[in-house]
């Protein structure tokens, strides 16, 4: 019988707390996982997993308007319609500011606006030493990151189902906006990696509220906990009080950076203490997620 499929999405709210390093560790610890980098804006997981790209696809989403200057009669109506400030006085459209709403394209009295499909980036299916990786690269200064997140997660799920994998481990984006919301639909659980700082704590509270909003269990782990123990304790109390399962404290350890410099996950770097801590974290986390899933079904 195939194991039930779980997707764990690793989030943080605040950037730089250690999401990707932990996803790397879980990639090494999970049994037969499919890996997914949903931080399409600033993807980094590939730097630990050294993927060999097997499939490469263009990602088209939305449109960008452009004015055909030969057809334009300079009535200036589009300038009044555009709510995004994308049209300059001289009636040219700045693609960086164009939202792709199509109002100028549809309403131009002489059809002088073109509205081509927008190539926003690329996405890939790769092989890594721990399993397949679905990842992407959003074009510079592009929109539609939410749609690309949805796409890479859908592909990861398809791969996982095809190979009978029990785990998708997804590296999520920072923040709580569009790409984060797209990384949560249909997930099994989220792990929020935070740090013992006023900013880490503040941002944890917001991203945990977002997980609640989507009715998703949120596990919490404090990374670099020894940098400020009182705040690490306060975060643990907050989680106990709010009912977010608390997974523990990880120490600040420059070996995370050293492993990264060598292109390794921390589980492949010689640091027994971290290996033991992370193995325990993964065992508790995976068991808790499986138990919850069993209860649901």
């Amino acid at each position: 019988m195939k194991p039930p499929l779980n997707e764990l999405v690793v989030l943080s709210g605040k950037g730089g707390t250690g999401k990707t390093s932990l996803v790397g560790a879980f990639a090494a610890l999970a049994d037969n996982p499919v890996l997914c980098d949903a931080d399409v804006d600033a993807a980094d997981l590939h730097l630990l997993l050294n993927p060999r790209i097997r499939e490469r696809h263009d990602f088209y989403a939305g449109h960008k308007a452009a004015i055909d200057q030969e057809k334009c009669i300079r009535c200036g109506e589009c300038l009044n319609w555009c709510r995004f400030g994308a049209i300059a006085e001289e009636l040219t459209i700045n693609p960086l500011l164009c939202e792709g709403c199509g109002v100028c394209w549809q309403l131009c009295p002489v059809q002088a606006v073109n509205f081509p499909d927008n190539l926003c980036g690329e996405w890939y299916i790769s092989i890594t030493r721990f399993g397949p990786l679905v990842h992407a690269r959003l074009g510079l200064a592009e929109e539609n990151s939410g749609k690309l997140v949805t796409l890479v997660r859908r592909e990861a799920r398809r791969l996982a189902e095809a190979k009978g994998s029990g785990w998708i481990i997804t590296d999520g984006p920072p923040g709580i906006g569009c790409p984060v919301i797209s990384s949560l639909g249909d997930a099994t659980a989220t792990l929020i990696v935070t740090e013992p700082t006023v900013a880490g704590q503040h941002d944890l509270e917001r991203v945990a509220a977002l997980a609640d909003h989507f009715d998703l269990p949120a596990f919490v782990l404090v990374n670099k906990a020894d940098l400020h123990k009182p705040t690490a304790q306060a975060i643990q109390q907050f989680c106990d009080h709010k009912g977010y399962p608390f997974l523990g404290h990880l120490p600040f350890d420059p070996d995370f950076t050293r492993a990264q410099v060598e292109g390794k996950t921390i589980m492949e770097y010689n640091n027994r203490k971290l290996h033991q801590l992370l193995t325990e974290v993964w065992e508790r986390l995976s068991a808790a997620i499986q138990k919850r899933k069993a209860k649901e079904s």
């Binding site: 109002v103 920072p174 906006g177 013992p196």
Partner: protein
């Protein structure tokens, strides 16, 4: 002078630089927190908040008495925020980008204005620093319209510092647009370098001058320095890792107040920004 502090990778020290720079300048300054998803600048600046304003997006609501189900609103909407059914038009306000297209095309005037709350803009001050920051409503997806509202607080003249969100996509572009200079804060690690390359690409695409701050400069490797040399990117400041600084930051302290050397370091940084951008602040 408008300086955006951005990074690509999160957690490199944007907010630390933005807040300390603002306080160190010893003159009337504006500090705007444009990281509306996870705003943190106020935790360090601790301004006295004066005003909190709810921000709404105009979204459509269809008046069924006037609607003839002609379908023009559905046709113009690129975001699937309106669906014309056999007997009514359904609206999906959370998908609406507020482009106003449906209001313009409805021949019957049946599209009425409704509001969707997207967040708050809070303003306040501390000493010579005027503060404004956005706070996206939890569950709301669209940060750019709120960022635009935060930026409406910019008053030309005094130095203005924008604390940008991480990444390189639309919230970052919305923040950086109109800046005179972009300070990219990075760290010398493979993740830092990879995200720095993306951020540099985005800033160059916007045609803005930029400079680097390398934080925790002694942890990691030399590849960020090599990249900066190769791309001729000026490194304006390098900050070594210091556990005391990390602890002060963790507590929410302003480093310029705890460590006198930071005051001078930030002033010097601003001087360099003025030199490189060839701009000055009116006296």
């Amino acid at each position: 002078m408008i300086v955006s502090v951005a990074s690509g990778k999160g957690g490199t020290g944007k907010t630390t630089i933005a807040t300390n720079l603002a306080v160190a300048l010893d003159q009337p300054v504006q500090l705007l927190d444009c990281d509306v998803e996870e705003p943190n600048a106020h935790l360090f600046l601790k301004p006295v908040m004066e005003q909190s304003t709810e921000v709404y997006l105009e979204v459509p609501e269809i008046d069924p008495k006037l609607c003839t189900l002609c379908g023009k609103c559905q046709d113009i909407c690129q975001f699937n925020a309106l669906a014309v059914l056999p007997a009514m038009v359904l609206t999906f306000p959370e998908l609406c980008h507020s482009c106003g297209g449906c209001f313009l095309v409805c021949p019957e005037g049946a599209v009425k204005s409704q509001q969707r709350l997207i967040g708050l803009v809070e303003t306040g001050s501390r000493g010579q620093v005027r503060f404004a920051g956005g706070r996206l409503r939890v569950g709301e997806a669209m940060a750019p319209p709120l960022i635009r509202r935060v930026k409406e607080n910019i008053r030309r003249g005094n130095p203005t510092i924008l604390d940008a969100p991480p990444g390189t996509s639309c919230p970052v572009v919305t923040t950086l647009w109109g800046s005179d200079f972009v300070l990219l804060v990075t760290e010398p690690t493979p993740f830092g370098l990879s995200d720095l390359e993306l951020a540099v690409g985005a800033v160059r695409e916007m045609g803005l001058p930029l400079g680097l701050v390398i934080n925790r400069a002694d942890l990691g490797d030399r590849r960020v320095h090599d990249y900066a040399a190769q791309e001729r990117l000026p490194i304006l400041l390098e900050i070594p890792f210091d556990r005391q600084v990390a602890t002060a930051y963790a507590r929410g302290e302003l480093l310029v107040e705890t460590f006198p050397a930071w005051q001078q370091m930030m002033k010097q940084l601003y001087k360099q920004i003025l030199t490189i951008s060839g701009k000055s602040d009116p006296k």
